[in-house]
């Protein structure tokens, strides 16, 4: 049951390189673009009211950015700080630290994306199995066309359409935010209900747009499995239809679906960036985008780093589990 060495080394290399490249890019890109980060800070300070007394602050920023040192030194100290877990302070949200902001935002994202991914997988897979099993029929064609539509249209378009329909036209649901502005987050039922109400639209968007793929792929797997010999055998054995569908067809067809789910889950932290922004949902996608558009460099570096690490780690974990499931990969090659 050992994982072949070559495979392991490759995957490790990819994991390490992904993180290394990302860290370097995050570090370099802001510093290479025209415009001095300091001018952004100064501009912001002057917005907030005058530069008096700002001298020490500017010096502090300079030091934090290490702008008084050379590029290589900056890089080294950056890497060192990251290894220590120190992601610095956010410029825009000063004195909040980057880590604090990220830790606040992540639960929202994982909560939203985690539940919606699993939900849409369950619904899509079950419907797809039934559709594939029932074969050619009017109802099945309608469902399949609907699934195709859901699959092709990108989720942000759904976001736009749903917001229009439910938030403006019907005025049923709130258009944005994680909770009503002004409410103090607390572990009360009222607050929870408010959160749920605010997450209905973003959640529906994500569920709808991913449903299509799960449906189509499961339907196709069941159809393929239907043609297999052991299905014929099951029928020849005189087993009741329900048993044949669930114990023979479904159990075999579900394997690739589970893999798909695992991959989907791995992409949670990096995904749904646009959905969060469109709905002003306070997850890590929103935070990242806000950081980028306000040029809050430490926050940018922090959020992008966290997202890349999460995705790379999840990918790596899946790739390590793969060979245990699929014996073909165990023996090298693709």
């Amino acid at each position: 049951m050992a994982i072949p060495a070559k495979y392991l080394i490759e995957r490790l290399a990819i994991f390490a390189l992904t993180i290394l490249v990302s860290v370097t890019v995050i570090f370099l890109v802001p510093r290479l673009t025209p415009g001095d980060p300091m001018s952004v800070v100064i501009a912001r300070l002057s917005e907030m009211g005058g530069l008096r007394g700002a001298e020490p602050m500017v010096e502090e920023y300079k030091r934090m950015f290490g702008l008084d040192k050379g590029l290589l030194d900056q890089y080294v100290s950056y890497v060192r700080e990251v290894m220590r877990g120190d992601l610095g302070y956010s410029i825009v949200h000063f004195p909040a630290t980057v880590s604090d902001l990220i830790l606040q935002a992540i639960p929202w994202t994982i909560g939203l994306l985690g539940t919606t991914t699993v939900l849409s997988w369950i619904i899509g897979t079950l419907l797809g199995a039934l559709a594939g099993w029932s074969g050619e029929s009017k109802l099945q064609s309608i469902f399949s066309s609907a699934a195709l539509f859901l699959y092709i249209v990108p989720y942000y378009i759904f976001a736009v359409m749903l917001v229009f329909l439910f938030a403006y036209a019907l005025r049923l649901l709130p258009a944005s935010g994680g909770y009503t502005a002004g409410l103090v987050p607390a572990f009360t039922l009222d607050f929870a209900m408010d959160v749920v109400q605010h997450s209905i639209l973003p959640a529906s968007t994500i569920i709808l747009s991913s449903l299509g793929w799960w449906f189509l792929s499961m339907r196709s797997m069941i159809t393929t499995t239907k043609g297999e010999d052991f299905l014929l055998m099951a029928e020849a054995k005189g087993l009741p239809e329900g048993q044949i569908l669930w114990r023979y067809a479904f159990r075999n067809a579900i394997l690739p679906q589970v893999t798909g789910l695992a991959i989907s889950l791995s992409r949670i932290v990096g995904g749904a960036l646009i959905t969060e922004v469109v709905f002003a949902y306070p997850g890590i996608g929103s935070l990242t985008t806000e950081a980028i558009t306000t040029l809050d460099y430490p926050l940018i570096q922090g959020t992008v780093l966290i997202i890349v690490m999460a995705v790379a780690t999840a990918n790596f974990a899946i790739e390590m589990i793969y060979p245990l499931i699929d014996p073909r990969i165990r023996h090298g090659g693709e």
């Binding site: 992904t18 378009i157 736009v160 995904g271 990242t288 940018i300």
Partner: protein, 294 residues
Amino acid sequence: MTLKSALPGRLAGRLTSFLRGPFSNRNFDTGFAMFAILVVIPLLGVLLSSPDLLRVGNSSPALPPSPDHLLGTDVLGRDILAQLFVGTLNSLEIGLIAAAIGTAAGAIIGFVSAYYGGIVDDTLRVLTDVFLSIPSLMFLVLISALVRAVTVEAMAMIIAIFAWAWPARQIRAQALSLKEHEFVYMARLSGMGSFELIVRELMPHMLQWMIANFVNAFLSAILTETGLSILGLGPQTERTLGMMLWWALNSAAMYRGLWWWWAPPVFVLIFSFFSLYLMHAGLEEVINPKLRGR
């Protein structure tokens, strides 16, 4: 008889038989027809209409659809139908350029990787996988925000940064499987040189795959561009479908009930995605007959 003298006639013959496949497929035909509409109508629209329509203040702002302005005007008085035409063409242009660069670069990398094998293959493959596993949207957001792409071409370049990875992987896989096919061995045995082998035997098969990859990359590029534009990170001064949406959303078009501003771009986008998807599905069916009539 040299290869050169035989070329023109053979090329024409090869071209027709090559094109016969895709055009006989229903999915491809539908998609292609839709795509043709997508290109021709905006083109005509742009050629036949006055550029004044796009000027700020050309008309009264926020007018609903009327015979004067078939799709109304936006909050700055610009005609929306005219914007739609230009926007469609620009979005398609971005898709085209990004897909072309991505598929070409990807094809070269994939092919080299498959053909030479060994350490070259390992390095390129790791590189491709790294680019594939990085959450590209996020980095594109980062790059777009910092570079503040102003033109359509610049936008396409940015998208191309990640667009090559998937074609590279696909083409490598296809080239690898072809390499093992018997007809390559036969060609080698019959004494064909490497280059001739690539051109005469491998290329025709690869070409089909590459075109399918291109269509896919096209779709993906437009998806990406629209996504970035909706966040406001698209080409700032030129119009694309995504940017139209961003302008609309940012001017509270929904809140003000200006449905004629945001609905048409949505419709055209859905239309283009479907057309590209159908073309891609059709091509796949032609290449792999097992998929037909699924």
